[in-house]
């Protein structure tokens, strides 16, 4: 320790004496899937590239892809710190405890954990209000379904996913009272074969709209094969399916946030924050709607998007009941962020139980 600090001060002195430019700020990214997944991780990596483009030589970014949620993530983060990272983005819910653990060991390194809720002096959390996009998606799905069965591929039963299901259901139900949701949990973020299987099963059981909360484009490929089934791009635009089943998408836009936070580290103004931005702030985008969606539905969807963006309408506005029939939100009441962040219940009308 002493020796290290000696070296550090020597290096600093040398740096001061010769007026050498400061070392580039090192930013690390930990990804749950491959950067080529076409969805979640792909968008995070676009954010990383945006940081590189913005700061050029002043920044040095590294990433490790396909890191399993669990102990392995801790090893990867520690390695990044030892290689000199100043700021580390950990981009999956399942890295939450690992991020906190590593952050405790290295108080001088800043961490940013996506979609979690545990913060510390050097750990911020950030997420996007995907449920705002889900509301629009649900509305379109409710209007478009002919069989009145909407298939939903969930990843893990965490608040983030449950929120999406609820939001989509509420808005599908609003425009189509007969709509039913069939929900399948894949227990993976990324496994194209399994995701495709799940989509096929839902289609076989009558679903003609597939909503997904997993990261690959496989469900869209399965929908394309089945024909007469529509789906949405998840996390990324998935525009390559525009000719086929993809009618719109929810797009995550992390670039501006990553740039802002990297800048904060450079300026020394970084503080723990809890960011949760939506359509209004541009963190959630809605991909271009294709002609498969009738014009009046498109107009309604755009109107819904505008009212959410302006803050005039909140997707969780009462009257709403929980699945068991108990009251949740009174007429006109809006859900608070705390409840949303820890959401572990379905709203009234959804069938089935949330796995523990």
């Amino acid at each position: 320790m002493k020796l290290t600090s000696l070296f550090t001060s020597a290096a600093m002195a040398l740096g001061l004496a010769t007026g050498v430019m400061a070392e580039p700020t090192k930013v690390g990214f930990v990804y749950v899937g491959p950067v080529g997944d076409g969805g979640w991780t792909y968008e995070h990596d676009k954010g990383r590239q945006a940081v590189e483009a913005e700061f050029g030589d002043d920044v040095e970014t590294t990433f490790v892809e396909s890191v399993a949620e669990g102990p392995d993530a801790e090893r990867v983060m520690t390695q990044m710190v030892l290689e000199g990272a100043d700021l580390i983005f950990t981009t999956s819910f399942g890295y939450m405890d690992q991020t906190i653990n590593v952050a405790k060991k290295f108080p001088n390194v800043r961490f940013e954990h996506a979609t979690g809720y545990k913060t510390a002096d050097n750990v911020s959390v950030y997420s996007a209000r995907f449920y705002e996009g889900r509301a629009i998606q649900g509305m379109i799905a409710g209007e478009m379904t002919k069989t009145n069965i909407i298939g939903y591929i969930g990843s893990f039963p965490i608040p983030e996913v449950v929120r999406g299901i609820n939001s989509a259901y509420i808005h599908a139900k609003k425009v189509n009272p007969d709509v039913r949701f069939k929900i399948v949990w894949a227990y993976t973020w990324f496994d194209p074969a399994k995701e495709a299987d799940a989509a096929k099963v839902l289609i076989e059981q009558g679903a003609d709209v597939i909503l997904q909360h997993t990261d690959s484009t496989a469900p869209l490929a399965a929908a394309a094969e089945a024909g007469n089934v529509i789906g949405f791009g998840q996390a990324s635009d998935m525009a390559e399916y525009t000719d086929g089943p993809r009618v719109s998408s929810i797009i995550d836009n992390w670039g501006p946030y990553y740039i802002e936070r990297t800048k904060a580290v450079m300026d020394g103004t970084w503080e723990t924050v809890n960011t949760w931005d939506g359509i209004g702030a541009g963190m959630v985008g809605i991909g271009a709607m294709t002609d498969k969606i009738p014009a009046d539905v498109q107009d309604a969807a755009n109107a819904l998007k505008a009212s959410i963006a302006s803050g005039e309408y909140h997707p969780f506005t009462g009257p709403l009941k929980k699945q068991d029939g108990s009251d949740w939100l009174a007429e006109g009441e809006v859900a608070d962020d705390g409840t949303l962040a820890g959401m572990n219940f379905y709203v009234e009308g959804i069938e089935g139980d949330i796995p523990n």
Partner: protein, 306 residues
């Protein structure tokens, strides 16, 4: 709960599709292990097969050529394993792991320009009369040719190992390579052929995922299937039909549990999600109560001078 929503015919048909990639990879690995080689690179050879098959199918607009390219791609990658373990006499476990890592990386590189493309459809066999039989038709007689090829390879491997001289030699090499060598058999040459066969089968299995089961290309799309195939060979006690049973059980329970979930059956989802692994292992372990038939020379390095 709405079990009537599950169509049993479609269910059986789709479980066969779900099982085929594992089956192809596992039967190839069975032959490799019977020859006394432990190749942990199945996952890497599968993903290389997936991208080679996908790329060639897209370029030539022919899924047949795609599958052919996948088999060649898998075999070529396994050649690397041959050089490491049969020529350089490197450790098989380490070489196999390296093969998987290398395959995953190389496939990501090769596949960069193929993300989001659509492969040509693989035609389903449509046999007059047979395919039209209610229930049995859709289950047995209207799949793509590769699915039947998988079953045919299992039958072929079983027959070859059990009844032919070549099979006997292969097993001899796997049981005691020194004795086989003393008898004048070319141990290295036989093992190389087994490894190439394993690579080709794994490549086919990978291409089955990217061309039929999903069908698309994304990085890392095999997502661990190769490891399951490896485990199946062990739990199936190196017997071809048990490997087939294991693959169908695994594929079957995977599809069934998704069906049960979608139908809203009141079994906790966690149990459903882990059921493919549990059921497959339990059944195969019970079956293999008789003496395990692991090849005695499995994983041991052979050199004629030893």
């Amino acid at each position: 709960m709405d079990l009537s929503a599950i169509n049993p015919v479609l269910l059986v048909a789709s479980l066969m599709v779900a099982a085929t990639p594992i089956l192809l990879a596992a039967i190839g690995e069975l032959v490799v292990e019977k020859a006394g080689i432990l190749n942990l690179g199945v996952e890497g050879m599968m993903i290389i097969g997936a991208i080679c098959g996908f790329a060639v199918a897209v370029q030539t607009d022919s899924s047949t050529l795609g599958f052919l390219a996948a088999a060649i791609g898998g075999a070529v990658l396994s050649l690397l394993f041959v050089i490491l373990t049969q020529v350089a006499l490197a450790n098989q476990v380490a070489s196999g792991l390296a093969l998987t890592l290398f395959g995953l990386g190389l496939s990501a590189l090769l596949g960069q320009s193929f993300v989001g493309l659509k492969p040509p459809p693989t035609p389903e066999l449509n046999i007059p009369f047979l395919s039209d039989i209610p229930v049995l038709g859709p289950i047995l007689f209207s799949h793509d040719p590769v699915l039947y090829l998988g079953i045919a390879i299992v039958a072929g491997v079983w027959a070859a190992l059990k009844f032919t001289r070549a099979g006997l030699i292969l097993r001899a090499v796997g049981e005691n390579h020194d004795a086989a060598h003393a008898l004048g058999y070319k141990v290295i040459r036989i093992r190389i052929m087994a490894i190439l066969f394993g690579g080709a089968c794994a490549g086919l299995g990978g291409a089955y995922i990217s061309l039929v089961r999903v069908p698309l290309w994304t990085e890392g799309m095999t997502a661990g299937v190769g490891w399951i195939a490896l485990a199946l060979v062990v739990f199936g006690s190196w017997k071809p039909w048990r490997v087939l049973l294991g693959a169908y059980l695994f594929g079957g329970v995977t599809v069934v549990q998704l069906n049960l979930q979608a139908a809203g059956v009141a079994i906790p989802v966690e149990y459903l999600a882990m059921s493919p692994y549990l059921i497959t292992i339990v059944v195969l372990v019970i079956l293999s109560k008789d003496k395990s038939s692991a090849p005695a020379s499995l994983g041991r390095i052979f050199h004629a001078s030893h």
